[in-house]
């Protein structure tokens, strides 16, 4: 992604975290990958940093504060609402999808079970955010 800013991954499953890290490495995405284990953790990290991430990859099903709750909190925050959020989830549930788009999500991706398919998915996401103008320089 073009500006080299970090990407924040909010994900509680360690293997899923590893999957994204590995895919980034494989795709030669150089942006640093920060991880938060749940919504609350993510909000804390975002509150304590000067450099906001250029994108947030967000799982839906997490303990303490789930993805949808975090998404709503982000969109209500003047400072954070500009960050594009891409849901990265297992949930095919229509309600989750509708709720996400109702909260201005930038994308909704279903995690494939197969790792190589996951890499392809990440390739597309990374390519899109390389072509797309970032919200802030």
């Amino acid at each position: 992604m073009r500006n080299g800013k970090p990407v924040l991954l909010v994900e509680d499953d360690i293997v899923d975290q590893m999957t994204v890290k590995r895919a980034f490495r494989e795709l030669r995405v150089t942006n640093p990958l920060l991880t938060a284990e749940n919504g609350e953790d993510a909000l804390e990290q975002l509150a304590g940093t000067r450099e906001l991430p250029c994108m947030i990859l967000l799982d839906v099903n997490m303990p303490l504060m789930n993805g949808l709750e975090l998404l709503r909190a982000l969109k209500e925050d003047e400072r954070l609402r500009q960050i594009p959020v891409v849901m990265l989830t297992t949930s095919r549930d229509e309600r989750d999808k509708l709720a996400s788009f109702a909260s201005s999500v930038a994308g909704y991706m279903i995690k494939p079970v197969d790792y190589s398919q996951f890499v392809e998915l990440m390739r597309t996401v990374a390519l899109y955010w390389t072509l797309s103008e970032p919200a802030a320089a």
Partner: protein, 493 residues
């Protein structure tokens, strides 16, 4: 045939003449000699004195009269007649002649008797049935009222009304029941419908009429009534009355309401299932994805360090992960579709069941045996797979912990196949036989045995929707035998 006979009697001469029909009525030959005494002789012995006295009195008082009496015919048969003698004066003023007509009224008396019997029978019926029988005779200008439903009250007020004893069933006394009283006890919300139905009957031409309404019992509760009537119309087609019956259909209505609420409960259960499946899809698929990724990476990163056996095993692992994922998706789909619309196809169980056994991957101390041949059934494939997966899976999970033995078998039972999955586990108490098929019901701790309480519920749903039945036989210490049937034909149940 007998009907009407006439006769003529000259009081002075005593001469008597009677018609041929008279002879017929009396049952004597036309040649028989007619005389007053002869005629009187035909009267029933018990009636003779009365008849003679009445006739003599009328001659003496010079006035017409009528009498009814019995006649014993020449052939011995008894008939009832009515006589209408007329006295005629000659010009001299006192020479008299009596002419008379004799009516055979035997039929009339019989009809009256028949009516009495019929009335008695009707009373019996009215008493025997729990329906409330009613009868209304209208008076007044029906046509006027028919034009204006609001004036039905006028009509009702002037009606002659009868109701059967069965009204007591609603806690009321028969005395004082009028049509207006009855209408007052119709539920206020239904009164308009009833009035409209009456109006409709008055304005229309039909003879059958029915309406449903709630009727207030004496204790204030309401009964559901199905009221059916036959309209009586005059020659011009105007309603002159009606006879009907109020049938108490409360029990049926209540059953309908109960059925409706069961349906709601069923829908609620389906909704719960869908909800559960949604959660399960997350909780099962996330670790599956992890296993899949890790296995994939081991092959990629350390493939060269593994021998052929190791690589093959990892390959098998990945295949199972994918299959498992499919099953989870299947559960999801099943719960989403709810009514299970998966198409039926020929399923060779001899191939499918070993695959499922393989997928379950029983631990080494458990043997799973397929006894005899398994048939080809026409059924929804993934659903049938799920049935075996759940039943065999349970058997493997709950069989003897040191030396488990699971047997899958099939036998032919008329137009259906009967399958059996037998384990040598600790068994299930009979009081739990129903519970275990209920949604989210488990017999042990979920943490301990990893049960979700959904497996057997799905089995039951699938088997029953396919037209089969599922049940179990079990005793503590003797293991469990789960049975289910599937129809041999592909026809819908």
């Amino acid at each position: 045939m007998a009907g009407v006979g006439s006769w003529e009697w000259e009081v002075k001469t005593g001469a008597m003449r009677w018609s041929e029909q008279m002879c017929c009525m009396l049952g004597v030959a036309t040649s028989a000699k007619a005389s007053f005494e002869a005629l009187l002789a035909f009267a029933h012995p018990d009636d003779q004195a009365r008849v003679r006295a009445q006739l003599e009195q009328s001659v003496a008082e010079n006035r017409a009269y009528s009498a009814e009496f019995r006649i014993v015919r020449g052939d011995g048969a008894e008939i009832s007649v009515s006589a209408y003698p007329e006295l005629m004066e000659d010009t001299g003023g006192h020479q008299r002649r009596v002419t008379g007509v004799l009516h055979d009224v035997t039929g009339r008396a019989e009809a009256a008797e028949r009516l009495r019997v019929s009335e008695e029978r009707f009373q019996m019926v009215a008493r025997a049935t729990r329906d409330v029988i009613w009868d209304v005779q209208l008076r007044g200008a029906v046509n006027d009222v028919a034009d204006d439903p609001r004036r039905i009250g006028d009509l009702v007020g002037g009606a002659e009304f009868w109701i059967s004893d069965s009204i007591r069933g609603f806690g009321y006394d028969v005395a004082g029941v009028t049509l207006a009283w009855l209408l007052e006890r119709v539920h206020p919300s239904d009164r308009e419908v009833v009035v409209y139905a009456i109006h409709h009957a008055l304005a229309g031409t039909g003879t059958s009429w029915s309406v449903e309404y709630r009727f207030r019992r004496a204790d204030g509760s309401y009964a559901d009534i199905f009221d059916r009537a036959h309209m009586l119309r005059d020659a011009k087609g105007a309603v002159v009355g009606a006879i009907g019956s109020m049938q108490d259909v409360s029990a049926r209505k209540e059953a309908e309401r109960r059925q409706e609420s069961s349906l709601k409960e069923l829908e609620e259960a389906n909704r719960q299932l869908a909800e559960f499946a949604y959660v399960v899809s997350h909780d099962l698929k996330a670790p599956l994805r992890g296993i899949s990724s890790l296995a994939d990476w081991i092959v990629r990163d350390s493939g060269d360090k593994l021998d052929d056996e190791g690589r093959e095993q990892l390959g098998l692992l990945l295949v199972r992960v994918r299959r498992m994922n499919d099953l989870v998706e299947g559960i999801l789909q099943y719960s989403r579709v709810g009514r299970a619309n998966e198409e039926r196809s020929s399923v060779a169980l001899a191939e499918l069941v070993p695959q499922i056994v393989d997928l379950i991957g029983a631990p080494s101390h458990v043997t799973v045996e397929i006894e005899g041949a398994l048939p080809v059934v026409v059924a929804p494939r993934t659903q049938i797979a799920q049935v075996f997966q759940n039943l065999v899976g349970n058997a493997v999970k709950f069989c003897d912990p040191s030396c488990g033995r699971v047997v899958v078998a099939c036998s032919e039972r008329g137009d259906r196949w009967q399958f059996e999955i037998k384990d040598n586990g600790r068994g299930i108490e009979e009081r739990h036989f129903e519970r275990i098929f209920q949604l989210f019901q488990t017999l042990g701790s979920r943490d301990k045995n990893g049960s979700t309480g959904i497996g057997l519920t799905i089995v039951k749903k699938i088997v029953e929707s396919t037209g089969g039945r599922v049940w179990l036989e079990s005793r503590i210490g003797e293991g469990s035998r789960f049975f289910f049937t599937l129809p041999k034909t592909s026809e819908n149940p």
